[in-house]
Structures are given as structure tokens and as C-alpha cells.
Symmetry: D2
């Protein structure tokens, strides 16, 4: 399948490019950007480790326009939310297959918001898209939401989530590039990321909700989030205080997390990690620098699993790579899932 990448010159866009290099199913043939239109992709300011993949160096960056997308079978979007709003809607309306990492369509009742291991069944929303002659369009959630929700899934399956209090420790790459000025963050942390807490609160409940009658019934637990930027390059960490309807045992929870696997693992999708959730027993893990690259950044790492103030409470810490599992890698995994199910 020939694929296009919208917003391919930013931090998340570059991660897409890196992960699409050598992909067995998807051939990246079009990259759009805003500031670098007309440049060879090999000339953009590459901010990731290593070099621009050889095979994409000569792609000329094109505009975000329908014209640019004429010859592709699938469009990945790494657009900033403002640019995404109108253009992604247009793609959807014109029936151009879209897998987006942007926030624009995430809360649209017609559009499934998916973590492939968490709610692959939500792809059924696309049937309604078909009835309406739009799409197929699917989105994956915000990076922090992803890192948080993956470990919640097996717990919410076994017990019933009642309440979540979370605080995040978010990496610089989550702000894109150039992102956070260095003068703001050396010897500092910043307890505000625009729109982030709302995304965590809303998207978590859509992801763990249930499809009923062609729409998602949001999960009903409470979510309270404080989101904070820290001077870490990559890898979001979330401190999770979860309360369940039932009593919870930390050891049992650890086993549920460690043994969790889901449809991407069963389908052996190319980008699926063997174990989407790793559990570490050391008292000081997970840590962003040491754990963000678990299974190439596609697994999250959970640790410090412990009791809370009462028997219904479970506390833990989770780290995940915000631009791999939290963005590009997950969007590619979602596209693989859709392909495996013949949706695209």
C-alpha cells in the first residue's frame, strides 16, 4: 500500500518516517509539511537519533493538499491540531482512508479512537462511516492517554474502575519541535500543558467505553489529571492512583499486567510488541531514560505497583515512549490492524 504522511517534518512526523522505513506493508511515497515544501526530505532538520532513512531522502516535501494525495491508498496524519481540523474532515468526507494521530477527530462520535490492544472492537464504528459514505477514518489517542490507558485495560477488565487520579511527567518531544524553549525548562518543571488534562480525562473514558448501537458509551469512572512538563527528551511517565469497585491485590494486578496480550499480538502485526506491558519489580523503576525503549518503544513499562490507602486502591507508575507507542508507532499499528481486518 502506498501511504502519505501529513506533517512529516515535525518531531512526531520524523518518528513516523523512521518507523515506516523498511515497513513490510506500507510504502511511504508522499510527505507533506508546512515550512519545508519543495525541499528534499533529506534536507529537513532531522532531530531524531541516526540519519534520515536512505530511501526517503529524495522525497520532495509537498503541501497539505488533496492534490498531493492523489496516488496513495492510505494517509497518516501527524498534523498539529489546528491544521488537522479542516483538512482531516475533508479527507474523511471524500473517502480517503485516514489514520490520524492528531486530536481533531478524536472526539467525533463517528470516528473510532483506538489503542489496538485496548479497544480494537471500536473499529466497528467504521461501518457507520460507510453507511454515511465517509471514511474510513480512525484516530489514536494523545500520548499521555495512551501510556495511561494501556495498563488500565487488563485491570478494568478484571475489576471495575471507579476513579483515577493521575499526575504526569511528560517529555519535551511531546511538545513538538522547536517546542519548549530551553530557558524555560533547565532547572525547572512546568505544571501546565495546554489541553492535555482534558484530553487525558475525556479520551480515557472513550477508549474504555463500549460500542453500543453504533456509538461509544463512555466509561463512567472519574478522572482527575495534572499534567507537567519535565526536562526529559523522550518518554512520558504517569503516576497512577486508581480506585476500583472491588478489592484489588497488587500481586494479582502485576500478573494481569504482565500477562496481558491482545489482538495485535494474536494477529502478529508487524509493529506489535510481544508483550505490550512490561512489569518491573525494582523499587526505583520504571524511569523514562531506561524504560522508554522497551520493545523498540512499543511497550509500556509498569512498576511500583502497590496498595493505596484502602483495599480498593492500587497505585503504580508507568512509562511509555510518547512518540513511538504514544504517537507514530501506535498509529502504524492501528493501520496494520485495520489492514488485517480488511478495513483499508
Amino acid at each position: 500500500m502506498k501511504v502519505a504522511l501529513l506533517g512529516g517534518t515535525g518531531a512526531v512526523g520524523q518518528r513516523f518516517v523512521k518507523m515506516l522505513s523498511g515497513h513490510p506493508w506500507f510504502e511511504l511515497t508522499v510527505i507533506t509539511g508546512k515550512t519545508s515544501v519543495g525541499k528534499r526530505y533529506g534536507e529537513v532538520n532531522w532531530v531524531l537519533e541516526g540519519e534520515v532513512p536512505e530511501e526517503f531522502r529524495d522525497i520532495v516535501v509537498s503541501e497539505n493538499s488533496l492534490e498531493s494525495l492523489k496516488e496513495v491508498d492510505l494517509v497518516f496524519s501527524a498534523l498539529p491540531s489546528k491544521e488537522a481540523r479542516e483538512f482531516e474532515r475533508e479527507l474523511m468526507n471524500r473517502g480517503i482512508p485516514l489514520v490520524s494521530n492528531a486530536s481533531a477527530l478524536r472526539m467525533d462520535p463517528l470516528v473510532p479512537l483506538i489503542i489496538p490492544e485496548v479497544n480494537p472492537d471500536h473499529l466497528s464504528l467504521i461501518e457507520r462511516q460507510k453507511e454515511l459514505g465517509v471514511g474510513p477514518a480512525a484516530t489514536d489517542p494523545n500520548c499521555t492517554t495512551t501510556v495511561l490507558t494501556l495498563p488500565l485495560k487488563p485491570l478494568h477488565d478484571a475489576y471495575t474502575l471507579k476513579r483515577l487520579d493521575v499526575a504526569s511527567y511528560q517529555a519535551l518531544s511531546g511538545a513538538g519541535y522547536p517546542g519548549v524553549p530551553s530557558y524555560d525548562i533547565v532547572d525547572n518543571v512546568i505544571p501546565f500543558i495546554s489541553g492535555e488534562e482534558e484530553k487525558v480525562q475525556n479520551e480515557t473514558k472513550k477508549l474504555l467505553g463500549e460500542v453500543d448501537g453504533g456509538e461509544v458509551k463512555f466509561a463512567s469512572f472519574d478522572v482527575q489529571a495534572t499534567c507537567v512538563r519535565v526536562p526529559v527528551l523522550d518518554g512520558h511517565m504517569v503516576a497512577v492512583h486508581a480506585e476500583f469497585e472491588e478489592e484489588v491485590d497488587p500481586e494479582e494486578a502485576a500478573k494481569l499486567l504482565e500477562n496481558f496480550s491482545s489482538e495485535p499480538q494474536r494477529l502478529e502485526l508487524p509493529t506489535a510488541p510481544a508483550r505490550p506491558i512490561h512489569v518491573r519489580g525494582e523499587e526505583n523503576r520504571p524511569q523514562p531514560r531506561y524504560d522508554r525503549d522497551a520493545e523498540g518503544g512499543m511497550s509500556v513499562v509498569v512498576g511500583r505497583i502497590r496498595k493505596g490507602a484502602n483495599r480498593h486502591s492500587l497505585l503504580f507508575v508507568v512509562v511509555g515512549h510518547n512518540t513511538v507507542r504514544g504517537a507514530a508507532g501506535q498509529a502504524i499499528l492501528l493501520a496494520e490492524l485495520m489492514r488485517a481486518k480488511n478495513i483499508i
Copy 2:
């Protein structure tokens, strides 16, 4: 009053020295240490901004021993908890006046644990010490607990705390010196600080408890804490999710915080800040680097005051200087309070 400082060469000890320079009531005449015994204080490895205060340069560092303390009227302790355990107990038993920042005696039922603005009335425990012929000995809480509890006080006075979920962003100086190896914390955060979460959970409830029949009845709300080290030099930040028995209005809460003042302000103690709690309205404040030095580090700064998932919930962020308000400055303020009340 002549005062001694135990553990005066460490990071907190140096802060004591700096803050005792030019103090109107206390004259620092003895400094003890472990590794620098026999050295002039001017020769120790000074890690704070500026220089060793001129007047203390020629004090020769002495051992932690009773012998060293013969001629002082009051002992401040900045000892590491291990060293503090036996020695502080001995001082207390021998009736040597002690104000300690160490954790050794904090949970002792006989010893008041005090934030001067929060629970000055707990000093009444010292009457029981007198009856038993020990003390007077008083302690101030852990740095994170202090930063957290100061803003809780006016809220818990107006409403009734039911539950606290907190996550911390703690500065490097909180680990003492040499403390955290740089290789561990560049491009990283560490979600574990030994004993810290327990201290936050226990000390908060003692501080907000009530003295009844010569002992403290601990407050009964639940506390859940995740404590994390971040690459910030000074200034602990805490993300606070608080739930009350009553409905809470963020604007009203902001006013309660901003207008809060207490006994140290009324008594015009030398080290007391004019307003112990500052409130900021900007969406991205407080931040450790910009807010840790409010009123010389003696005030905490609260911001992002907002509603939680239900009407009983209040979320906010607080920053305070961990070695000033969270340690040396507060211990000195506590000694001033005790002096003003003729306890020492």
C-alpha cells in the same frame, strides 16, 4: 541565645548557616559535622550560592557529642536520620533544648511535629515532656509534607479534608549532598525516594491532627502519595488532588489561601514571611525555578487552583523551597516561635 547546629556541613546544614547569619536572636557558636571535624567551617565544600558567611568562617567543626554542646542554649539538628536516632534521643533525655529537622523523633508521641503556621498549639505537648523531665524537643516535618500541608491548613479549617492524592516533583537538594548521581538524573526522573511517601502520608495527618489529653489525635483523611525526583536544583512541587466532605469553590479556596496568616505573622517572628501562601493566577505557575524564592523561600506558591471531577474535589499545584521553608528556615521559625512563647 547561643545555638549549636548538628550536621552543619550538609546541604540542609549549610542552609541553616546561611539563614542564621545575622539572626537577631540566635548566635551560632557550634557547628558539628561528620567528615570535616577539625576543619574551619570556611574550608568545607560550600554548595550554596554566595560564600560562607564571614562570621562563621573560623568556627572549627566539632564532633556530634554532648561535649561539643556544653555551652549552648539551643541545638538545631540537621542530622541524617540514622545519626539522629540515638543522639537526638539522648539530647532530649538530658534536657538539652532541641529543634530538629531530622525524621528521628517526628512520630514520637511526646514530641510535637510542627509547622509554625499550621499547628502552633501542638507545642503544648512539651508540657508533658516537662512532666517527664525531658526536652524541650520539637521537630518540623519532611520538606514535601511541609510544602503540601501549608496550603491544606486554611482549606481544612474551612472544609473537612476527606482524601488526598498527591504526586511530587522533588528537587535534587532534597537528597542532600552528594545526593543523586548526575548520571542517574540527566534526561530522566526517578519515581522513588526512600521513605518519602510514608512520611508524607503519616506526617500530614499528625500535623493536621488535634491535641487532646496531651497527645495528638491524627487527622482521619486518606493520603495517597507518589514521590518523584526531578532534575531541579531547589524547590519541591506537589500536584494536589484534594477531596472534602463539603462542596468546594475554587475561587473561594484561592481567597482562603491568599488571606491565610497565623501566629508567626501575628507575633512578627523574624523569619516569618508576610504571607505564608502566595496565590498565582497564571495558567503555568507555580514553577520551581521562578517560585521557590518567594519571600526568601519562606512562602509557598499555589496555582492552577481548579475543580476536580466532582464538586467536592479541588485540584491545585504548590511549590515551596525544600531547604528553606521545607527545612532550615522552618526549623528556625519554629525556634523563634518557641522563644516567643518562652518554651526555650
Copy 3:
């Protein structure tokens, strides 16, 4: 004197504002900016420690235009070099007194480039400006050049500089705000700062040159510089390898540096430090974080003074505050010098 500040919203501009607060001679009445025109100065994004000085909060940021400058007696410029090029030239041509920190006019043969302690006599160039009916206009050098040249002055007076090899460790604030993206500099240093090495090489020789026949004869020693950005907030450090025509003794050099004082000290100018050069004997000083604030950032701190590979070589390290001594503070000191000499 009423003064205007061009480019007052940037990092250097804010430092000007801070240092002009309470200035005994200069009253800041006009602040221009580019992005914040029409805003109250109290509303700009303040990046320095503390708050916007009370007395300037209500100044409305105006455009960079002659119109804005009608009622002032002196103009300070903290403009970026591009914006400075035409506008400063225009101010000079129209006879509006100008003291600029921008690079635009520094190499103009008519315009003195001055460190007040190093070459106050270069102000005589302004006589030629008068003859031509322009100015008075004066500039101060690039921040790195300043930090480097201050300690060279007493050495070059006592001996004769033959060759300089310098490598810099430059702070983030030197790049302005937003400046260096945080993703570029965490766990990294960047060995390139556009135009910086050329500035260091050229400006040093103009500063240490001699005025002869109404123009500056540049000093003739060789300068080789490598300029590098490091993750430090404020304070440029320079490793200096200097070679002289004569043999040099490190101890003697240390005394020359320590005892150096010059016209700003004799004239007791308000912003002049008591000793423009501090010398430290510890083996690991100076360091940016500990030494950038010497005498409020107006002094540079020299250390590690030692022999080189031969008797003509002297090696040392110097730290200075890049936005105080290296920019705003020095420009204000220069204006004070010009005022004391009745040039403005």
C-alpha cells in the same frame, strides 16, 4: 534623563528593564517591541527571576519608530541585529543619542565599541561623529567578547598579547528567547553559534586597539575561537590560552587581574562594580552557576590561572554574566560613562 529601550521584551531587553529599575540617573519611559506592541509591559512573558518592576508595568509597548522616541534623551538598543541594522543607522543619522548592545554598528569605523573599563578613551571617536553631524552613538561588544576582553586588558597593558586561543561555554540566554529548543540541548552541547566566532575575533582586536587620528587601529594579535552552547541558563565561561611577547608569571598575572580598576571605578559610576575582575584560587572555579552573579553580575571571575606549554603562555578560565556584564548592565554602564563625560 528620559530613556527609551528598543527591543525591550526579549531576554536582554528584560535585563535592561530590571537594571533600569530605580536607576538614579535614567528614567525609562519608552519600551519598544515587535510582537507585543500595544500590550502593557506588565503583561509580557517575563522570563527573569522575580517580577516585572512595579514602576514599568503600565508602560505600553510601542513600535520601533522615530515617533515613539520623540520625548526621550537617550535610546538604549537591545534589538536583534537584523532589526537594528537600518533603524540604528537612522537614529545615528538623525542625531538621537544611542547606546546599543546590538551588533549592527559595532564594526563601523565611526562608532566606538566600548567596555567602559577597557577602552573608555575610544569615546573620542564621537568627536568625529559630531563633525559629521551624526550621533552620538556608541556600542558595547558581544557578550563573549566582553567576558574574554575584560581580563585581557590588564594583561595586555603589562605585557603584549601575541596570540589567543579561546573556547567558550555559552549560556542559553545568550540566544535570546525562545532561543535554543530544549530538545536540542538536553544531554548535549552545540559547537556552533552563528557569527559568534567572528565577533570574538574582530571585536577583541577593536577593543584592545588604539585610537589614532580619529580612528581605531586594531590590535595585531591573532585570535582563534571555538564557540559552543551548553545547557546553562546564564553565565558565559571562556577557556583562554593566551600567549604574550614577554614571559608571564601566573602569580603576577593574578595580581594584575585582582587589582585592576579603571575609569568607571574612579568615577564611581552607579552601575560600576567595585572590582571588575575577581580572582579565585580554588582548583574548580570559576563556574557559571556560582560565579555569574559576582557584584550583581557586573564583575567577571577568573580562575585556574596557570602556565602554558612555554613561558610566554598563560592559561585561565573566566566566567561572566552574559546578559548583565555582557549586555544590559554594560550598556547602562557605558551610558553612565558618557553622561559623566558630558557626551550625552
Copy 4:
């Protein structure tokens, strides 16, 4: 060959362990340490990325003693210099084959100091060791010296080095673990590393010297060095100002560097990089974070090659991985070279 590793629990020791994992010629069977004696190696505090290699997890850390080394064919040493001094001498005297990364024996006239690509011929010193019935013992240089000297080799072959002025930007891992306290280095750089400048000055001249009559005649150029610690995890950067007897052309120099290869490449040693020196043309490279891992950290990366103040001067910047090329990797490469030449 069975090999032992002395000092295997430190930062450099761990890098050895990582690089010996799966090595085709050397089987690591003994690891000594100081603080972890008796522990399984899998239980030491692993500070590198990834995990302790599976095959070494069950090795029990033994003492630094002859007893521990009875059954090995070769000893690698990553000992701190103090511990190395006596013990390495003893190993040498007893004829136990030794390849050391410690500084203890580097300046011993009997012991070759070798960068395999730079001076493999210096191994001939071992013949004298044999005559004296000691050794074979060889050492590799200090990390900064290595990164500096590799690119000097092809230049010094083509021209004649006359003078070197270098300033370093050295990573935290160079100080071992725990090494530099984080409180010292956040928002700071430290212009002093004990003994480092002397090592750079002396070792460079031994490495580029010539063996004559069984001993090394040191090269005669002047070296002046300022060594500075910066907050970078791994990767030393050196700003090099080199002066040659002959005129030097930067473009020609770039080609010499890029095309350089030597005996390890011809012998296709397992750890040899394809090109030991990479040259980059971007104006802002090399940078530690982006370039330290070139060819797994075994290549250094040179950039900013440019003219100095006169035609004999060449300026450039070089980055190399201090614990791979600068320590463990190079020592292993040296052992491979010795094996290929049947010295061990």
C-alpha cells in the same frame, strides 16, 4: 580465550561487560569488583541502557586478587587508578597478560600506550617486556586523549604538528559512577577534572611518538589543554586548534580524515569500525548526543573543519564515545590486535 575483567562493576566496567557479550574471541568468565564481592553480577546496579547480558548474570563478583585470575588467559582492567597501581604492576611482573584501561602503567617506558589505529607499531615494546620476563602488558589512553588523537594521526602523518590548543566538553560517565553529584552540574559546567589536562598533554605525545631502540621517543609538539565537565551523559567533545609546520588546507584535511583507515581495519578485527573517523559537513555538528554512537561508538566524528588565524592553523571539533572508543571498546580492540599478532 578466557578473560577476566577487573573493576567490572563501575561505569567503564559495565561497558566492557556489554561489549564482551557475544564476543567471538573472548569469553568473560571472571569479574572482580570492590563493593559487590560475592554478589551475582545480575544484581549489581546496572547503569547502562538495556539489561545485564544474560550470559553474565550468574558470574559471582570476586576480589581483585591473583587467586581470582588463576584460570584466565587475559585480564582486562577497568580499575580506578589507585587500585590499579600496585595490582597491575604485580600482574605484569608475574607474566599475566594484561590489557588495561587504567592510567597506572600508561607512562611506564616498558608499557606500550596504544590506540590501535594510531600506533599499532608501539606493540614492539612488548619484546622488551619478554626479555625482562614480564608482561605482556599494554594500555590504552585516557578517553579525552583518545578522542583527540585519533583525528590527529592522519594529519600528523601528512603534515607535522607543531602546537595544539584544546578545550574539552566532557561527559558525566567519564567520572565513573556515582561520579559528579547532580547538584553540582545542573545549570553549570565545571572547568576542572583532576589530572586530566596532564594526561591529555603527556599521552598525546607518547601516542604520536616513535619507537626507537626499544623505547618511545615522545613527539615534540606543544600541547595546552583546558578540560571541562558538562552535563552530557556520554560522549566527549574536544575543540581542537592545531598548528602545523606546513600550510594546511581544510578541504584536504577533511579528505585525509575521512579516508583514514589503519591496521584494525585491514585485519578486520571484530570490534574495528569500518571508518574510524567520520567527517560531517553541517555547520553545527558534531554534537555529543547525535554523534557519540557512530559505528556503535567506535568511530569519532569530526566537523567544523576550518582555517585558523594563519595558514598553518587548522581548527576542528571532534566527538567520541568516552566509554566505548575512549575506554572499553578500545581496550577490547587493542586485545584483538594483540591476539591477531600472536602477542597474547
